[in-house]
């Protein structure tokens, strides 16, 4: 990043286009937090690029006054990869949804994560197809009644964070559209991570799947249903912070802190521990467990673009001043007079 970074305000990241999500959509909050946080990231504005696919979330780039490309369904991770490889100096963001990123574009998502390009993925998970007006998605619960599943959906959902971990992601996090401060910190963590960052955002679609996350966002319930992760801290939650996650062998169990168990018995979060991240990711959507939010997993690893540039530099070092004429002239040639 250049050293003479300009100072910005939220306004500098707000485009002149009218935002066209449904009133009450969770996307508004995500857009607002992004615009709010971006001036603090220390990056020249012209270096930000937003790439999206198709879906409600994918309209996001139009509203950010940065470079942006609203592309085709599911392909944003591949397009973003091309952007990053053409200019590794850019700060590249992919905005996608549970349909765009996990269904039609699932292949590109897993391969981006596996390659570990320094790209930030924001996946808005509303557990429904909004833009096409309400069909079930790969994260919808079994039995969900939608227009395409009048007797209930048959598909078993998968969990975006489990998918990301399975694909070899080096950074996996989750936040919630209603948790504004938490979201801001997650956006900053995503940006700070070198390598592909994967951030799932629980996002309410108030038209086609209203209340999908109400138990995690309801003021009276959320302390009991959400586990806020802090690196190095015991996994405590509950109205009185009197519940904890304990490992019984390899199985997580919820314990009450008191006579039988103390805080010392509670699992301490370690962002670099893949096993802990796997356990946490699998706690989602289960009635017996709180949904973890925060950074589940973060490890440092070389990025794809670093190794690509290194290979090119090595090749140039071995064969400096290479040019095409040399290649054209190479091999067995003969002269006709």
């Amino acid at each position: 990043m250049s050293e003479t970074v300009k100072t910005y305000t939220k306004k500098d990241f707000t485009s002149d286009q009218a935002v066209r999500w449904c009133p009450g959509c969770g996307d508004y909050a995500i857009l607002a937090q992004t615009q709010k946080v971006f001036p603090d990231l220390g990056v020249d504005k012209e270096k930000f690029v937003f790439i999206s696919g198709i879906g409600c979330s994918s309209r996001f780039p139009y509203y950010m006054d940065t470079y942006g490309f609203h592309t085709i369904h599911g392909r944003a991770p591949a397009i973003a990869s091309g952007v990053k490889l053409a200019n590794p100096d850019l700060s590249v963001w992919v905005v996608t949804g549970d349909g765009d990123g996990l269904s039609i574009g699932g292949n590109h998502t897993i391969h981006l994560l596996r390659r570990n390009l320094d790209i930030n993925v924001m996946l808005f998970n509303n557990r429904i197809y909004g833009l096409t007006k309400g069909q079930y998605s790969p994260t919808s619960e079994v039995g969900k009644i939608t227009k395409s599943t009048p007797m209930g959906s048959l598909d078993r959902p998968f969990n975006p964070l489990t998918v990301a971990l399975g694909a070899g992601s080096t950074f996996v996090s989750r936040t919630i559209d209603k948790e504004l401060k938490h979201m801001q910190s997650m956006i900053k963590r995503s940006h700070a991570h070198k390598g592909t960052s994967f951030m799932e955002i629980y996002q309410n679609c108030n038209i086609f799947n209203d209340g999908a996350f109400s138990s995690q966002t309801d003021r009276d319930q959320k302390a009991e249903t959400v586990l806020i992760l802090e690196n190095g801290q015991p996994m405590l939650f509950g109205n009185e912070m009197n519940k904890g996650v304990r490992l019984d062998g390899n199985k997580p169990v919820i314990v009450d802190i008191g006579d039988k168990w103390s805080v010392d018995d509670v699992l301490v979060h370690d962002e670099s521990d893949y096993v802990i991240a796997s356990i946490l990711s699998n706690m989602s959507y289960q009635t017996d467990f709180p949904d973890p939010i925060g950074v589940l997993y973060a490890v440092e690893s070389e990025t794809y673009e670093e190794t690509m540039v290194a290979q090119i530099n090595e090749a140039i070092k071995k064969k400096p001043k290479g040019n095409v004429q040399e290649i054209i002239n190479a091999g067995d040639t003969w002269v006709v007079k």
Binding site: I51, G82, L85, N87
Partner: protein
Amino acid sequence: MGKITEQVDEVVIRFAGDSGDGMQLTGGRFTETTAIIGNDLSTLPDFPAEIRAPAGSLAGVSAFQIKFSSKDIHTPGDKPDVLVAMNPAALKVHQKEVAPGGTIICNANAFTLKNLKFAGYETNPLEDKTLDDYFTLYSVEMGKMVSLANEDLEISSKIIDRTKNFFALGLLFWIYDRPLESTKKWLGVKFAKKPEIVEANIRALDAGYNYGETTEIFTTRYKVDKADLPAGTYRNVVGNYALSMGLAAAAEKSKLGLFYGGYPITPASDILHTLSAWKHLGIKTFQAEDEIAGITSVLGAAFTGDLGITATSGPGIALKGEAMGLAVMAELPIVIINVQRGGPSTGLPTKTEQSDLMQAMYGRNGEAPVPVLASATPGDCFFAAYEACRIAVKYMTPVVLLTDGYLANGSEPWQVPKVDDLPDFDVSFADESNLADGQFLSYSRDKKTLARPWAIPGTPGLEHRIGGIETEDLTGNVSYDPDNHHYMVETRAKKVDAIANEIASSEIFGSKSGDLLILSWGGTKGACRSATEALKADGKKVGHLHLRWINPFPKDLGEKLIKFKNILIPEINYGQLIKLIRAEFLVDAQGLNQVRGKPISSADIQEASNKLIG
């Protein structure tokens, strides 16, 4: 005994054997040597899709044909004068195509009962005299010879047996009076780490050569003089390699980074391999997770200011269609190369065809015109690739470049071009001087080319959004306005049409008017040219017009067409260019259509021509 040397103008040789017999390599070495001694040549590799079909099976036969001549030639030849058959299956598959009176040289040791049965022979054709009336048959114990030549080497008999292709090569080098040095040198480099393999192959090569020299079976050697090619430095070049060099030259001249994204597919993969080996030129290659990611990564790179290239074959183009539409909408410069193969579906992966022209023209949703051009010869792939890149950037449009399996794997002597002499390729990215009253209009246009500005991320002040939703004229904002959509559809079409202002006018070889015009595109150029030459020699009023650009057509094409009473369009498809020509110019063109996975022969074109004009 004395050996006679006979002077001939041209020879067609076909090497055929099992997939594991190394026929492509043998053909390649014969080609390089033939190039070095100055013959004109043209080659046609023909191999199965299976890497290793069962040994000795008909499905596993691999062949390589070369025509070489003291004259200027345009095709790899129709019927081989000489067939080298390394096993019964190779003989079975290829014998029927050998020219009457031609020569067949067989590896007798492979004609075992088992192999004969596998190939469907009830009796041994080397012994039952069924071939003797039509061909000169040489039955040579190649397997035995190489085993004797290498018996003191401490390597397995299996490895020794594999050198028999070099015995055949040595024998052919003797018959056609070609030096062995460059092949020996090549072996030394190729197997530098395995000196015993080098030694075994050199011994096999020498044994084959000496076999011709000393035995009394071969009484005649043939001499093919140097071809009278225009003065200059030449090399032999294979189509996919020439194409890769053309892309690299475009990047160098334009000073753009070259980003290649693609997914392996026959017969295009060699472009990925070749560019991947040129990292020292700063070329970035990205083997994507699928065909779609291949082209979309390229689109991302083009948005960011790289020269974006992807190459594939028909099935891959089908997958890339939606992204090509996005490139049309976003008006970004990328080049999509289709090395055509037999279709539909998986079709004939290793065989050539020209059946994706309509796909290139119309294979996208909505009105999505793209410029389409085609390479004519293996060496021409270089210039076509360069031109495709130059036009893509100049007009800010995706460009489709069509080649085919025959061009991709075929080779010819190639007068090496000077990169300095290639057409200018200047690029300028938009900067703050493009701001109008502080606003950047991402869909404003150059008056002549109708190209929009190329404003790449990282440029201060030009932050803007583009996308696949219809864009408003000038601002590039999302627009659902009916008149705007109509205007933008029209403008995108006009932009492609504008390219006709700078493409070369159509040149006719032969008669400029008269009884018949042979109209071709792509890899059929050589066969059409040869046929035209032959027809002219017969006193026919025939012309040949070859199209480099199919979209747009050259501006003067219509007026050229109407000067002929008949138009014949030979294509390796079921009639595609002919539909475009008939629709555009309302002329009663006739087609010659063959879809056999092989080039159309000039003999067939002559025959079809004679039928038309009597």
